[in-house]
C-alpha cells in the first residue's frame, strides 16, 4: 500500500464516515494488523469510539478480523482492506450500472446495500418499497413482490451475494453447541466457498410500501399499517445478510470496455458478436483468466439477438475479421462446431492499458513525444541515434523529448557494456519502455490526482462555507414559505437577501465543485482500467 493510497483511503473514509473512523482506518492501514487495545493506544482515542468505528468498518467489509499472532487464545486482530475502501470511489458507477440493467428498483436495492454494507433481504425490500412509494404519485404504492423480483434477479446474475457465515465457536462463559476447542473469535470465511452463496431464502413478505405523510389522513393510514407491520417483523430470514458482489460488477465493467473498444475499432455488429460471446461465458468464466471459454460458432449463432438479423455466412466473415485484427480481441482455437473461438481478455486489457499510457503521454508532452513513446513500446530497445531516425524528428528535439520522458520515469535507460569496466565510450545505452511498471506509475499518479481533487474540493467548500450556509438557510426559508402559501412579494423579498455578486460567487462555486466531482468519477475510470490490467498480468504469470 503506497502512501498515496493510504491518503486517498483516509479522505474517502472521512467523507463518508467522519474523522474518528478515518483515524482508525489510516492507523490500521499503516500498521497492518492491530488488536483493540493497541489501536486505542496508538490513536489515543477513548475505547468506545474505537469500538464503534471498528463496528462500522467491519459492517462495511472494509476491515476483517481474525485470531491474532498469538493464536486463537490471544486478542482479536483487525486488518483494514485498502482495496475495499477504494471501491467507495466507484459507488456511483455501480449504482448507475444497476439502473441500466434492472431499472429503478434494482438501482435502489444496490444503493441501499452499498450504503449499509450488509442487509437482510426483508429489510432491503421494505426500505426500497418505501422509498419508491415516496417518489411515486399520491395514491400509488410499490408492491413488495416487485422489489423481491428485482432482488432475485440481481442474485441470480450474481451481482448480490450472501455474506460469508461467521464461524463463531461459542464464547467464554456460555456453553457452545458441539465445538471442541472453544475459541472466542468468530472467523469469516470467503463468500464463494459457501454453497448457498446465491440461494434466495424462503421469505414471507407481502405488502406494499408505506408512504410517510404529514397530514392526518396519513396518520390514520399509518396507525392501521402498524398492525400488519408488526406481523411482518419476523420474516424467516434473520441472520442471512447480503452484500454487493464487487467482482461481478468489475467483470461487467471490463466486458463493457472491451465491447466499446471493438465497436470503435471495427463496427457495431462485431461489437454485438463480442457481446454475445461474453454474455455466454459470463457466469462460467472465473475472475482473472486470460481468455474466456471456447465457444463454437454454432452456439454464437444461436445466441445472437434476433434484431440484428445476421445470417450464418456473415457471422463467419465477422469472426474471421475479428481474428485477423491486429488487436487480437478474438482468436480461433479449433475447428469443431464450425470453429471454436475465444475472447482474449488479457490481451484486450493490455491493449487498452497501452492505449491509455500513450494518450497520457500525448496529452502531457505533445504528439511528437507520443510518437517516440509508441516507437519505444513497439521496438522495445533503441539507441538514441535509432530513435531519432525512426521517429523522423530532428536530433536536438528528439534528445530533448527523450530526456524529458526519462526524467519523468516514463522511459528507462538500459546499459549494455562491451567491456567489464562500463566505460561510457564502450557501452550501449538503450532506451526502453516497460509497460507494467509504467502502468503502475500512472496508477499511483491517478491515486494522487484523486486525492488532490478531493482536497481541493474540501478547501473550496471550507473557504466559502459562510456563503453556502447562508444560501442553505435562505432555501429553507423559501421552502417553508412556499409550503405555507406566501405571496410573491414575500418570496422575492427573501430571495433578495442574497445579493447579485454573492449569487455569482455561489454559481461559480457550484460549477467548480461539480467539475471536481465529475473529474473524480472520470479519473476513477482510468484507475479501474489500469488496476484490471495489473491484476490480469499478475494472475496470468
Amino acid at each position: 500500500m503506497t502512501a498515496q493510497e493510504v491518503r486517498l483511503c483516509g479522505l474517502l473514509l472521512q467523507e463518508h464516515f467522519g474523522e474518528v473512523v478515518e483515524k482508525m482506518g489510516t492507523e490500521l492501514l499503516r500498521s497492518g494488523a492491530l488488536n483493540l487495545r493497541a489501536l486505542a493506544h496508538q490513536t489515543s482515542t477513548p475505547l468506545d469510539l474505537v469500538k464503534k468505528s471498528l463496528c462500522v468498518l467491519v459492517q462495511h467489509g472494509m476491515c476483517v478480523f481474525g485470531p491474532g499472532r498469538r493464536g486463537p487464545g490471544g486478542p482479536v486482530e483487525y486488518t483494514a482492506n485498502c482495496e475495499r475502501i477504494l471501491y467507495m470511489l466507484r459507488y456511483p458507477r455501480y449504482i448507475y450500472t444497476a439502473k441500466s440493467l434492472y431499472g429503478d428498483t434494482g438501482e435502489l436495492v444496490i444503493e441501499e446495500i452499498l450504503q449499509r454494507g450488509q442487509m437482510t433481504m426483508s429489510c432491503t425490500v421494505r426500505t426500497v418499497a418505501d422509498r419508491l412509494t415516496h417518489s411515486m404519485e399520491d395514491g400509488q404504492s410499490m408492491e413488495y413482490s416487485e422489489v423481491i423480483t428485482a432482488f432475485t434477479r440481481l442474485v441470480e446474475t450474481h451481482f448480490l451475494q450472501r455474506c460469508p457465515p461467521v464461524d463463531s465457536m461459542g464464547t467464554a462463559g456460555k456453553a457452545s453447541s458441539g465445538s471442541s476447542d472453544a475459541s472466542a473469535v468468530p472467523q469469516p470465511a470467503r463468500p464463494e466457498t459457501h454453497p448457498d452463496c446465491y440461494l434466495i431464502p424462503q421469505v414471507h413478505l407481502t405488502g406494499r410500501g408505506k408512504r410517510r405523510r404529514s397530514n392526518e389522513d396519513g396518520e390514520a393510514e399509518e396507525i392501521n399499517a402498524k398492525k400488519p407491520r408488526l406481523e411482518n417483523e419476523v420474516c424467516g430470514d434473520e441472520g442471512i445478510f447480503w452484500q454487493v458482489n464487487f467482482e461481478r460488477f468489475h467483470l461487467h465493467f471490463r466486458h463493457q470496455s472491451i465491447i466499446s473498444a471493438v465497436a470503435s475499432k471495427l463496427d457495431p455488429t462485431s461489437s454485438e458478436i463480442v457481446r454475445t460471446m461474453l454474455r455466454l461465458s459470463e457466469v462460467t468464466t472465473p475472475a482473472n483468466t486470460a481468455h474466456t471459454q471456447a465457444l463454437s460458432a454454432n452456439e454464437i449463432f444461436r445466441a445472437l439477438p434476433v434484431s440484428y438479423n445476421i445470417s450464418r455466412p456473415i457471422l463467419d466473415q465477422y469472426l474471421t475479421l475479428l481474428v485477423d485484427d491486429p488487436m487480437e480481441f478474438v482468436s480461433k482455437t479449433g475447428d469443431s462446431g464450425g470453429g471454436m473461438y475465444v475472447v482474449n481478455l488479457h490481451r484486450a486489457l493490455a491493449n487498452l492499458a497501452r492505449v491509455t499510457l500513450e494518450s497520457v503521454v500525448q496529452e502531457r508532452f505533445g504528439s511528437r513525444s507520443a510518437r517516440i513513446f509508441r516507437l519505444l513500446l513497439r521496438k522495445r530497445h533503441l539507441e538514441q541515434k535509432q530513435v531519432e531516425d525512426f521517429a523522423m524528428i530532428p536530433a536536438k528535439e528528439a534528445k530533448d523529448m527523450l530526456y524529458t520522458l526519462l526524467s519523468q520515469n516514463l522511459v528507462q535507460l538500459q546499459e549494455i557494456p562491451k567491456t567489464p569496466d562500463f566505460a561510457p565510450s564502450r557501452t550501449f545505452y538503450l532506451y526502453t519502455v516497460n509497460q507494467l511498471p509504467t502502468a503502475r506509475l500512472l496508477l499511483h499518479n491517478c491515486y494522487k490526482a484523486v486525492g488532490n481533487l478531493i482536497e481541493r474540493r474540501l478547501f473550496e467548500t471550507k473557504e466559502n462555507r459562510r456563503l453556502l450556509e447562508k444560501s442553505q438557510r435562505i432555501e429553507a426559508i423559501l421552502a417553508s414559505l412556499q409550503g405555507g402559501g406566501a405571496d410573491a412579494a414575500q418570496l422575492s423579498d427573501v430571495e433578495e437577501m442574497i445579493t447579485a455578486p454573492e449569487r455569482q460567487q455561489l454559481e461559480a462555486l457550484r460549477h467548480h465543485i461539480n467539475k471536481l466531482d465529475s473529474s473524480e468519477n472520470q479519473v476513477d475510470e482510468t484507475i479501474f482500467l489500469l488496476e484490471s490490467y495489473i491484476n490480469s498480468t499478475q494472475s496470468s504469470h
Partner: protein
Amino acid sequence: MAGRGRGRSLFTFNVDSLGFGRGEALPTSAHAPSPLYPPMQFRPVPLHTGEEVDYMLALKQELKASSKNLPFHIRPARAKRVDRYSDKYQTGEPKNNSIEWSPWSRLPKELCIKEQKPRKAARSQVKPKIKHATGKAELIQKLETLEKKEEENHSEEEQDEEKKKKKAAEEEAESEEGEQYDEEEFEEETDYIMSYFDNGEDFGGDSDDNMDEATY
C-alpha cells in the same frame, strides 16, 4: 592519463550525443527545487459531458449528503467545557443506535457495546451505596460524640428528635453529603437547650376563649 597534457578536453565518450558541442555553453544549472505548480505546456482535455456523466455526478453528491445522516457517521464527542442546563434534556446520540444496524453475532464479542450499560448501572449503584455507607458511618460517629457532649441537657424527647434527625440524615446521605451535614452540625452544636427554644406554635392558641379583651 596519456592525453592529459595534449588532449585536455578529450572526453571518454562521444560528446555529440549529449546534445551540445564542446564550445557551447553548458545548460544552466538549477538553483532552486523545481516549482510546485510548474506551468503546463498543453491544456488538459475537457471532461466528458452527457446524461450518464451528469447522473453519476448527482448520485455521488446525493450519496455523500445522505451518508452524513446515517448512524455510521461517527462524530467525536465534543469536550464539554461548561456544564449546561440543557444537557439534562438533550440525550445526544443515543447509544442504543449501534445495536440496530449491526448483528452482534457477526462481530467479535469484544466490540459489543451493549454489555457496558448494565455494568455502568451496577457501578453507579455501587458507588452511592458506598457513599451511603461512609456517610452513614461518619454521621453516626458524629452524632454519638455530640450525644455524649450534651448528655445531661437532653431529655428523652430530644433524644428521639436526634434519632429522627439521624434517620433523616441517613436518608439524605443517599443523594448528597456535605452541606446538609453541616447544617445539622450547626443545629446540634448550639449552646442553648432545646427546650428554651419556643417556636411559637402555642402562640394564639390560649386566647381563643376571651375575644373581648384585646391582645397586645
